[in-house]
Amino acid sequence: MSASPELQRQMLRQMQTIRRFEERASDDYKGGAIYGVVHCYIGEEASAVGICAALNPDDQIISNHRGHGHCIAKGADLNRMMAELYGRVDGFCKGKGGSMHIADFSIGMLGANGIVGGGLSIITGAGLAAQMEGKNRVAVGFFGDGASNAGSFHESLNIAASWKLPVVYVCEHNSWAADTAAKKTHAAENMSDRAAGYGIPGIVVDGNDVLAVYEVAQQAVARARAGEGPTLIECKTYRQRPHTERPGAADRRPEEEKAYWMARDPIPILVDHLKQQQGQFSDEEFKAMDDEIMAEIEASVAYAEASPFPAPEAALDDVFAD
């Protein structure tokens, strides 16, 4: 099923929200209000948004260290996200997690995870829970090409395939594992070719075309809900930013490669598509949408700033559950 004009607008709004949120997060990180490290997803928005558009509210996802986009695409509250980045009590993790560990279990967002490949088996377990509950829920694991070379990738896909678990594995292949080129770490052109080894479908999609991602996501989700097992989707995409936002961080990627992908920015691609559908969209409309988003981002910063820092002694809370 192709996306309705209304859904396309929603997807555009989400993609632009991710971008604006991260631009602000990067600025505030460089300004000192956000601590630790921030990994931006800018340039890869079509992957999270296209996949999550095919999900139901009770479906579950897991993310990696580059997780803001997945959170927003699954519907996480911007205020509580920004408060978490600011290290405040009203953050999703009460200031215990920060950028790399945002989670909102109430919307099926099982957490950003700072260990590359670490979330793959956990989301496979969520898929097992869905299968055992029989509620037709689907679990989606987002990871990068770097994680696809970790043992947890093989172990998880093998089990999910063997048990026909309702999991969709989404590899966001941005060609760089931090600052090491993918071509130095795996020989095959398409990581998704590995799916054949597990006896499951492997699909390559233009990860910067949100409508294309949405199409394949629907197929994979339908297969999972039908009890036919997991699918491996490989979204070919690119991060427009260095590995981290740390000032002076290395970026060894060739300029011509970056230029190629900057010209294939997923947001203008969708804007152009909407404009080409006669009478569907205008620059003014996009500007108005962006203004609304900027106001939401400002509000999230205001919310974060108004939220207190946790008391130092709160460091002792939540080590164990009751």
């Binding site: 579950q60 897991i62 953050g91 999703f92 993790c93 009460k94 200031g95 215990k96 997690g97 560990h101 989670a103 909102d104 279990f105 109430s106 099982l110 957490g111 995870n113 700072g114 260990i115 490949g117 670490g118 793959l120 088996s121 956990i122 989301i123 496979t124 377990g125 969520a126 898929g127 097992l128 829970a129 869905a130 055992m132 509950e133 679990a139 043992g151 947890s152 172990e155 998880s156 093998n158 089990i159 063997s162 048990w163 809370d317 939540d318 080590v319 164990f320 559950a321 009751d322």
Partner: protein, 321 residues
């Protein structure tokens, strides 16, 4: 209370079966699916996994965070080392780093200890590595009674619990109540009362300490044997009270001494001012030699502590003051 005698290994099995009957959200993950369990609970709840400890340990975490109460059996503790990312980076921290928004009730079982000529990789007692992490509860039962009661508590607990089960004790018989009972996590047990010296012993060495106490009694030395039963949390109050009474402390552990449970117990017990003041002699650790465990029996026996070394340790602290 009516009692019956079962083995340590059987006690673990009974705890598992009874808890699985009690709670339909429990299920079992291991590379082996015992036919008797499959017969009662079905393949869905008694799942035979590929030999992929990293994945099935993480699967347990994901299922625990999605409303289930998984029980993982790594078989030997050795095999959990390929799942360390899931234990260290995920299970121990996932409740805390997400601000406590979700509970992760899961149990990881494994056997520990040596004495069976299985050589270096399969004769390990690495529980102190996990004591060093915050966020995991650790049980180490020494009797069938404690095994069954502690494992039931572990399965009912809303946190990740690692159950370390002594391979030397699997055939040990002991009494358990007929009716349902639990042993609380974090409560030590005085296995024998005494007044001259406290021996805090772990797992198999509880029994060696009891044998040593019998021997020392013949010489007129009264030995108190304390079993912590859980390594996290440690019952510091009971251990300190015992040492305040006897004034002397020997700690016996099948693991090596370096940064081990015995070292932590010595520090925890004696850094308390009242307990320190009561000491008549320096504390003494009786542990394995700090080497990988060798295969050939005479070498292996030389490496592990036993009742004779505990006796030597007791004599040392008795002579010291």
């Amino acid at each position: 209370m009516s009692m019956r005698e079962i083995s340590y290994g059987r006690a673990g099995m009974e705890a598992l079966v009874e808890e699985m009957r009690r709670d339909p959200t429990t299920f079992h993950l291991a590379t082996d699916a015992p036919p008797s369990l499959v017969e009662e609970f079905g393949e869905e709840r008694i799942r035979a996994t590929p030999i992929a400890e990293n994945a099935f340990s993480g699967i347990a975490i994901g299922a625990a965070g999605s409303g289930f109460r998984p029980i993982v059996n790594w078989s030997m503790v050795t095999f959990c080392f390929v799942a360390m990312d899931q234990i260290v980076n995920q299970a121990s921290k996932i409740h805390y780093m997400f601000g406590g928004q979700q509970t992760f009730p899961l149990t990881f079982r494994s056997s520990v200890g040596g004495g069976t000529s299985l050589a270096a990789q399969h004769s390990q007692s690495p529980y102190s590595m996990f004591m060093n992490l915050a966020g995991l509860k650790l049980i180490l039962p020494s009797t069938p009674h404690d095994m069954k009661g502690l494992l039931k508590s572990a399965i009912r607990d809303n946190n990740p619990v690692l159950s370390f089960e002594s391979s030397r004790l699997m055939g040990l018989k002991g009494e358990v109540p007929d009716e349902d009972y639990t042993v609380p996590i974090g409560v030590a047990d005085v296995k024998r009362e005494g007044k001259d010296v406290t021996v805090i012993a772990l797992a198999w060495l509880v029994h060696e300490a009891l044998a040593a106490a019998e021997e020392m009694e013949k010489e007129g030395v009264s030995v108190e044997v304390v079993d912590p039963r859980t390594l996290f949390p440690l019952d510091e109050d009971l251990m300190r009270a015992s040492v305040q009474k006897t004034g002397r402390l020997v700690i016996a552990d099948e693991a090596g001494p370096t940064a081990g449970a015995a070292a932590e117990i010595a520090a925890l017990v004696t850094e308390d001012a009242e307990t320190f003041k009561a000491l008549k002699a320096p504390p003494k650790r009786v542990c394995a030699l700090q080497v990988p465990i060798p295969y050939s029996p005479d070498m292996e026996n030389h490496v592990f502590p036993d009742r004779n070394r505990i006796i030597a340790g007791i004599r040392e602290v008795m002579e010291a003051g």
